[in-house]
């Protein structure tokens, strides 16, 4: 007769069980101390109650050992919780090495996901089970937050920055996808579903959906359309540094110091090229702020990323780029 109320959302990622275990541990600790204190207060209130306003209590002013005990014991317990939660947090923040990359942009009021092979989805995300997946995303307007309750992870989408979340789905099914940061009228409509599929079914889905140009290939095309390739020559003789094998390495700056070449750095270099100048080069590059959409910036980032793969066995992105001739149908927007 009564609807069943579950206490936990679906546990659908490797991290979910870890987060739930920690949560249960804190529930246990706090319930113990909460109930203990409540019982003590109630027992005192009943045992020492009086109706005589002239009666007074015993002359007790305090106890240093007790004060120390109830300062130090909670502190130690706090440290245990802190330590454990920090370990879980680091796991949540640090994706494993080989992740399946997906790009996303949040804008009022939808999430747009771009798969490496060029498929686009809106408010829906298909992912294969058992593979670590990293979603890199930003916002085109106001703050949003990409929240996967079943995977116990979220991060804010911030205009001007890249954020990322990662998860390894462990259970087939459809789960919620929420915007958790208030973003205006249809904030509660900025929701969707994430579909966890068998790897084979996922492959079938990938090939079954509209075959667009791969993200890296689109990036490569933009790279020449925007004339990036006139300066960033592969052999390093151009006016700008070569981008081959740059991603994941570290770049020496003219101002001294070095910066790791990651998604955020590549993005910044496209939109605000003057903020970090590579050692040995002049600050000549114009800004592309306002000229390239966030989605296209992501394609460029993915292209730069694919250039790192040349040393490794023929990268799938590059292979894919071969197969899509310039005349290939462009993704519809």
């Amino acid at each position: 007769m009564f609807p069943r109320i579950s206490l936990f959302p679906a546990q659908a990622s490797t991290m979910a069980a870890q987060v739930d275990l920690l949560y249960l541990f804190i529930v246990g600790v706090t319930a113990f101390f909460g109930i203990l204190t409540t019982i003590v207060v109630i027992v005192f209130a009943v045992k020492y109650r009086t109706n005589d306003p002239l009666k007074v209590g015993d002359r007790i002013h305090g106890s240093i050992p007790l004060e120390l005990a109830w300062s130090i014991i909670p502190f130690i317990i706090s440290i245990v919780i802190f330590w454990w939660s920090a370990v879980v947090f680091f796991d949540l923040q640090r994706p494993p090495d080989q992740t399946l990359e997906i790009y996303a942009t949040g804008k009022r009021w939808m999430w747009k996901f771009q798969h490496l092979d060029g498929q686009n989805e809106i408010n829906e995300l298909h992912v294969p089970m058992g593979r670590p997946i990293k979603v890199t995303f930003t916002s085109e307007d106001v703050l949003h937050s990409l929240f996967f309750p079943a995977f116990r992870t979220k991060a804010d989408a911030i205009p001007g920055r890249y954020s990322s979340v990662w998860f390894t789905p462990t259970k087939l099914g459809e789960y919620h996808l929420f915007c958790a940061e208030y973003c205006g009228t249809k904030h509660s409509g900025m929701i969707g579903r994430v579909v966890v599929m068998e790897p084979a079914a996922y492959q079938a889905w990938l090939s079954g959906s509209v075959p667009g140009m791969s993200l890296a290939a689109r990036g490569e095309r933009l790279f020449s359309e925007l004339a990036c390739n006139t300066c960033h020559l592969d052999d390093g003789r151009g006016r700008g540094p070569s981008l081959v094998n740059k991603f994941g390495a570290s770049e020496q700056l003219a101002s001294g110091g070095a910066v790791p070449v990651d998604e955020a750095y590549v993005r910044e270099s496209i939109l605000r090229p003057q903020s970090k100048i590579v050692a040995g080069y002049q600050p000549l590059m114009p800004t592309f702020q306002g000229l390239v959409s966030e989605e296209n910036v992501m394609a460029l980032v993915e292209y730069v990323k694919s250039l790192r793969a040349t040393a490794q066995a023929a990268a799938p992105a590059a292979a894919h780029a071969e197969s899509t001739a310039p005349g290939a149908p462009q993704e519809s927007r």
Partner: protein, 538 residues
């Protein structure tokens, strides 16, 4: 108490009668009452918004209000409750009334400034009411950029201006109280003889002085960004919207302590008075207030664990958050220990105080979840957080306010309310509160984000429970209004010290003289010397 008490001949209430004598008063007691009027109105307004929110959320679909109206409702609920109820409730109402009395002073240090503070507060409130009447504001009380600076087309300016002006009221009140505590204490009233409410107000004043200017400048910068298109937080220019969050929470987290420290002080008074005992570990309770005020400035970024701060800063802020939890725990244990071997007189204020303990305990302990990095990633911006801070702010601050109000009501009005109805109200509020916010912990962990106007069906049962609780809560609050107003006309008159409590405020008549005391009080003993039965006034 058996003998009929005759009303004092001259009191602060009856020595002048004109409207001007109220609107131009420099008497801290009258100013406290002026605050009470505006705050009660704001509480009523915020309560209406809350009712509409809960009504909307009884069904998963958005059907009662439009999405935009709903967004305005939770924004206005937050703005009204945070800036115009929680922050002023205990310090500006009870603090204004009892602080100089507790110190044995004739008034606060700067009575004119005190009146100006009330006017600033009221003008700020009127701006906010104007913003509401002119169509409302929909940014959330947190005003996050760039939504507030670029996207929203509602009355952000008027609301921001309201908050800005009210901020100055808060700054000047904090300044006034701090100088009063430093310079206006009665002879013999040394720091360690001060009632713990004074320590709490002092710590609060510290936060008001150091924190509030930052929100003022932040809101000003936001207003100018919006109005004149300046670009301090504008990502398109290379600015950082997250900087706004840092500056906002640098105030707004300590502001939580503006809300909770004074009620904690009131609770110390009530528990000591009705346990007929000195407070257990006086110095620990006193210093824990200061520790909370100071540590409170070092934890702001725990509101931003998923807002793109580095993992290492997250680590530091999580750790400091646990550090600030300890003084709160110490206070709670000391209150419980104060009751040990006391002579506990279970009058209404004590019932409210015990209710406070229960709810504050839940609020504090659930803070351990949100401070835990690994769990907070999941919990952030869900209903779990909503439930947590309502347990602190409503369960803690508002319960504490009512405990204090019931305690000092006979002093303020010279009349006693119905004890039995006050106890009934406390139990109704306690029950209704738990039913409202308890289920929100669960629905939050299930993943329901906050500020959602429509939600998936599986969350409905818990939301209906929550809304049912809210109606009980509303009933409880209405009951308080009824018996307190009734007491003004029919309440039994009380003498100087109806609770047989210690503290200088109980040595003068109820209601007090316009200038508080007939003779300058001189203090010769510690606070809460119940075992000696009476505080000596020379």
């Amino acid at each position: 108490m058996d003998t009929t008490v005759t009303a004092p001949r001259v009191t602060y209430l009856n020595h002048e009668h004109t409207l001007a004598s109220w609107l131009l008063t420099k008497d801290h007691k009258r100013i406290g009452i002026l605050y009470m009027i505006v705050v009660t109105f704001a509480f009523f307004l915020g309560g209406i918004f809350a009712s509409l929110i809960r009504l909307e959320l009884t069904t998963p679909a958005g059907d009662l209000l439009s999405a935009d109206t709903y967004n305005k409702m939770f924004t206005m609920h937050g703005v009204a409750m945070v800036f115009f109820v929680l922050i002023p409730a205990v310090p500006a109402i009870l603090g204004n009334f009892v602080l100089p009395l507790m110190l044995g002073a004739k008034d606060v240090a700067f009575p004119k400034l005190n009146l100006i503070s009330w006017y600033l507060f009221t003008i700020g409130f009127l701006f906010t009411v104007y913003a509401l009447v002119a169509g409302g504001v929909d940014t959330g009380w947190t005003f996050y950029t760039p939504y507030s600076s670029r996207a929203s087309n509602t009355n952000v300016m008027a609301t921001g201006l309201g908050v800005f002006i009210t901020g100055f009221s808060s700054i000047l009140t904090g300044l006034n109280f701090m100088v009063t505590i430093h310079r206006m204490r009665a002879p013999g009233l040394t720091w360690f003889r001060l009632p713990l409410f004074v320590w709490a107000v002092y710590s609060t004043a510290l936060v008001m002085i150091l924190g509030t200017p930052v929100i003022a400048i932040t809101v000003l910068a936001l207003a100018i960004e919006r109005f004149l298109h300046f670009g301090i937080f504008d990502a398109a220019l290379g600015g950082d919207p997250v900087l706004f969050q840092h500056m906002f929470w640098f105030y707004s987290h300590p502001a939580v302590y503006i809300m909770i420290l004074p009620p904690m002080g009131a609770i110390s008074e009530v528990i000591a008075a009705f346990s007929r005992k000195s407070i257990f570990g006086y110095a620990f309770v006193a210093f824990s207030s200061l520790a909370i005020a100071i540590f409170g400035f070092l934890v702001w970024a725990h509101h931003m664990f998923v807002s793109g701060i580095s993992v290492y800063s997250a680590l530091v802020f999580s750790f400091l958050t646990y550090a600030v939890a300890i003084p709160s725990a110490v206070k709670t244990f000391n209150w419980a220990a104060t009751m040990y071997r006391g002579a506990i007189w279970l009058k209404a204020p004590m019932i409210w105080a015990i209710g406070f303990l229960g709810l504050f305990l839940v609020g504090g302990l659930t803070g351990l979840f949100t401070a835990a990095l690994g769990v907070d990633v999941h919990l952030h911006d869900t209903y779990f957080v909503v439930a947590h801070f309502h347990y602190i702010m409503v369960g803690g601050a508002i319960m504490g306010y009512f405990a204090g109000l019931h305690f000092w009501w006979p002093k303020i009005t010279g009349r006693m309310y119905s004890d039995i109805w006050a106890k009934v109200a406390a139990i109704i509020v306690f029950t209704g509160f738990n039913l409202t916010f308890g289920p929100q912990f669960i629905v939050g962990y299930l993943g329901m984000p906050r500020r959602y106007y429509a939600y998936p069906e599986e969350f409905q049962v818990l939301n209906v429970l929550s809304s049912a609780g809210a109606s009980i809560l509303g009933l409880g609050y209405t009951l308080i209004a009824i018996y307190l107003v009734a007491s003004l006309f029919k309440g039994e008159r009380v003498g100087a010290n109806p609770w047989h409590a210690t503290g200088l405020e109980w040595t003068t008549q109820s209601p007090p003289l316009p200038h508080n005391f007939e003779k300058q009080p001189v203090v010769t003993e510690d606070a809460y010397e119940y075992t000696k039965r009476e505080i000596k006034v020379v």
